[in-house]
């Protein structure tokens, strides 16, 4: 697994955020690598001041997305390339949205048909079909697209605006 974290800015003209590269991971489709990615993501969410439940939600979503890439896009084959790019989203002045974390997963596996991506109904008690449900429940944005022969999954989690704390006594 290779990791890099140079600072880089990108953004579209109408996008309410600046984005700053936080972390880029290159790994192979190996289930043994999942624990390493979880650890790196956990640390990244702490740096961005996500609270514990939010942090767990982000780590869980990325882990489930990676598992889906290994199981479905690469049909369980190991040694295939996966890239994970994490960017810190910084709200522009006067933008309504808050800061957040954008994570993009890229793989060269079997094309994913977004129309066929739906979790199972939770009323059904059977194994499988929960990963996508976890992602959609946990993240603010979950988008799939195919570009240049690659599956791209973009997920965003926004930081909840910090609430003002209690006023000190005497004010």
């Amino acid at each position: 697994m290779h990791a890099s974290s140079p600072r880089k800015k990108h953004g579209k003209r109408n996008c309410p955020h600046h984005a700053e590269l936080l972390l880029r991971l290159s790994l192979e489709s190996n289930p043994e690598a999942l624990c390493l990615v979880r650890a790196a993501l956990q640390r990244a969410t702490e740096i961005l001041h996500f609270n514990e439940p939010q942090s767990r939600a982000i780590v869980r979503s990325v882990d489930e997305a990676l598992a889906n890439v290994i199981r479905h896009a690469y049909e369980g084959r190991t040694g295939r390339p996966i890239e994970i790019t994490c960017r810190r989203l910084l709200a522009k002045p006067r933008a309504r949205n808050t800061q957040g974390l954008e994570i993009v997963l890229s793989d060269s596996g079997i094309p994913v048909d977004p129309k066929k991506l739906h979790g199972r109904r939770l009323e059904e008690i059977r194994p499988g079909g929960l990963g996508l449900h976890f992602m959609k429940q946990s993240m603010d944005v979950v988008e799939f697209r195919r570009d240049n022969g690659k599956n791209l999954l973009r997920m965003v989690k926004y930081l909840a605006p910090s609430r003002p704390g209690p006023k000190p006594e005497g004010e």
């Binding site: 999942l34 624990c35 990963g131």
Partner: protein
């Protein structure tokens, strides 16, 4: 992930340590199904106190174990879920499907 088994009054308790994910959930699945389907254990306890993380493949293995136990007329009992594992159970809406207890004492007394 590590799984160790111990006996209590003829029942088996599996102590699981670590993280349950795509890399190791097949191991847990095999251990569970062997105990339920081949050894016909009447009560199987899973001590999850030291499980820091479980993914959907781990949940799928638990669901398979639960189905097998129901087919066998036996019981699969979970206890000691930490917040991370409990969250996943709630997201899956499975917390009311499984028998879940806070402590080993409560689970064994059930």
């Amino acid at each position: 992930m590590q799984i160790t088994a111990r006996q209590f009054e003829g029942w088996v308790i599996f102590d699981i340590l670590g993280e349950i994910d795509l890399a190791n959930s097949p191991t847990m699945r095999k251990v569970l199904l062997t105990e339920i389907k081949e050894k016909h254990a009447q009560k199987v306890f899973l001590n999850l106190t030291k499980v820091r993380y479980i993914d959907s493949s781990g949940i799928a293995s638990l669901v398979e174990g639960l189905k097998a136990s129901r087919d066998n007329g036996s019981r699969l009992i979970l206890y000691g879920l930490n917040p991370s594992v409990r969250e996943v159970m709630e997201l899956s809406r499975l917390q009311k499907i499984f028998e879940i207890y806070d402590s080993e004492e409560q689970a064994l007394a059930s």
